[in-house]
């Protein structure tokens, strides 16, 4: 394949991988944004998708989910087509995509995570509510449950979105820039929740832009600049050569030194 750094490690068989992408290309606003991308997520790991602005990180995630059309490529989730595995997958979109004056309370947002289970006519029973509340509790937002969503700070909103994903009871979590525009306390809370998910054997994938925290936060790293330039364990992928290939020499020596 065209990736610069692919590592001779034992990747899971495709059927076991929580998320396997082969040859995915997608365009955004008429221009190619992701070209021929292969991704293999290893179960029970925290993975980051990292690259410069405009590298197609969010587009890759959205194309995987079918939010933007794929031109080519296959996506399997736990060895099956995505449409049959949506119940095992949870997605946390970028915060910016939402109208915050919308008439929903925090608890209503968390309850949205139970939509697949409730279906159209299912009644909301106490155990459903309890699960939504537990999810809010885990992200430290339970005491805000009765507030309208717009009355929260950015970090709190992000935690509520994470709670909605938790309430889904999924095995694979896809998060688009979960740390963008949030305060330090929220970043720490989100990270501890993600690590505990990993420790429960679930798989987490984040679109991420902060190179300085990648090594601390994640187990595996995928470097993307329209093409996948490297994929593997974070300590093996995070090399000067890979980063320069990804960022096109835009990183200074000092910046590189700060990363490791």
């Amino acid at each position: 394949m065209n990736a610069v750094g692919r590592f001779p490690e034992s990747l899971p068989a495709l059927a076991d991988s929580p998320l396997a992408v082969r040859g995915l290309s997608a365009s955004y606003g008429g221009k190619p944004a992701v070209i021929d991308a292969d991704v293999t997520i290893v179960p029970g790991t925290l993975s980051a998708i990292v690259g410069p602005n405009g590298a197609g990180k969010s587009t890759l995630m959205k194309a995987v989910l079918g939010l933007v059309p794929r031109q080519t490529g296959d996506v399997t989730v736990f060895g099956q087509p995505l449409t049959r595995m949506r119940h095992r997958l949870a997605y946390v979109p970028q915060r910016a995509s939402v109208d915050w004056d919308f008439p929903v309370r925090v608890l209503d947002v968390a309850m949205m995570g139970l939509h697949r289970e409730l279906g159209l006519l299912g009644r909301v029973r106490p155990h459903h509510r309890a699960r939504a509340e537990a999810a809010l509790d885990r992200t430290g937002t339970l005491d805000l449950a009765r507030r309208q969503i717009g009355q929260l700070s950015g970090g709190q909103q992000q935690r509520v979105f994470l709670a909605r994903a938790l309430a889904q009871g999924a095995d694979l979590f896809l998060l688009d820039e979960p740390f963008a525009g949030v305060d330090a306390a929220t970043e720490a809370t989100i990270m501890s929740v993600l690590k505990s998910l990993r420790d429960e054997g679930k798989s987490v994938v984040c679109v991420h832009h902060d190179l300085s925290t990648v090594a601390d936060y994640f187990d595996r790293l995928l470097l993307l600049n329209r093409r996948v330039l490297a994929e593997g364990p974070v300590d093996l992928v995070l090399t000067d050569r890979n980063l320069q290939a990804t960022y096109g020499g835009r990183l200074s020596v000092a910046q590189l030194a700060a990363i490791r």
């Binding site: 995509s97 008439p103 949205m112 939509h115 697949r116 006519l121 309208q148 700070s153 950015g154």
Partner: protein, 350 residues
Amino acid sequence: MSAFLDALLLRTGYNAALVSVGAMLLGLAAGAAGTFMVLRKRALVADAMAHATLPGVALAFLAMVGLGGEGRALWGLMVGAAGTALLGLLAVDRLTARTRLPEDAAIGAVLSVTFGAGVVLLTVIQTMSAGQQAGLEGFLLGSTAGMLRADALTIAAGGLVAGAVIWVLRRPMTIVAFDEGFATATGIDVVRVDRIGMILVLFVTVAGLRIVGIVLVVALLIIPAVAARFWTDRTSVMFWVAALIGGLSGWLGTALSAAAPGLPAGPLVVLVAATIFALSLFLAPRRGVVARAVAARSSSGRLDPSEAARWIALRHMEPTSPLIDEDDGRTPLSALLPPDRLAALDRGPV
């Protein structure tokens, strides 16, 4: 006044009572369908659809006359109306999706052109049936005069069906309107939900033509939903409140019209809704203008330095927080944030 009371209590005869009940059910459905439409920020698409019904009504009339009928059967006119309204909706969607025109321009273009075509057809009908009143003018502003029992039942049934479908789909509709990306990711077919939502709006529009009229039926969809937003922060409640306001407007409006037969029903229904909207805008708790003014007054005056410092800390630590828009120099952050967040702000950046 007593005539109005009689009409309110459905004592003006079986037919008039039926019309009131029909208008009430129609208003219920309109409030609920309008809630989805307003939350989806497509409020005025319905106006294009409403105006696009006119050529359909005229064509259906011509077709029924051509087939030897009288041309005034409401169901037939409604089928014609629904046909061209659907074409109007498709035209708005196509123009928006396939060309560079923004949605408001597409709405304006479709609305005026289809209405123009309808007026041309109306003049054809006028000259054709010289002398014989076609009675289609009633569709412009709505009227309850001379409505048949079958007409009222048709409208009531339409309102009931639309209301039931919305009740079934309220959850996916809420999720789609709030967060499209999440909706798709959990497997909701956004395009299909949108399509069903707009079909319901079309359904209500067509059912409402006879009573409220082409020019004003969009108001029965928009105003109850907009008014309902003032009373609640929850979509599930908003659907009900909007339905209630819509039903009340339909009932009171047609009762007024029954008490004063010279007045067209549509404007009366709309003005009842508009009155409820104005009351909501000013008097609703929390979101109403008065409540907000009182809240602002009770926290008027300059902030003490420690509260001001919290705002500064917030701006540093969460520069993108939507709360920053709330900083009016008077509201203390302690009124907006829970204690743990305040403590974090007081500690300052980590």
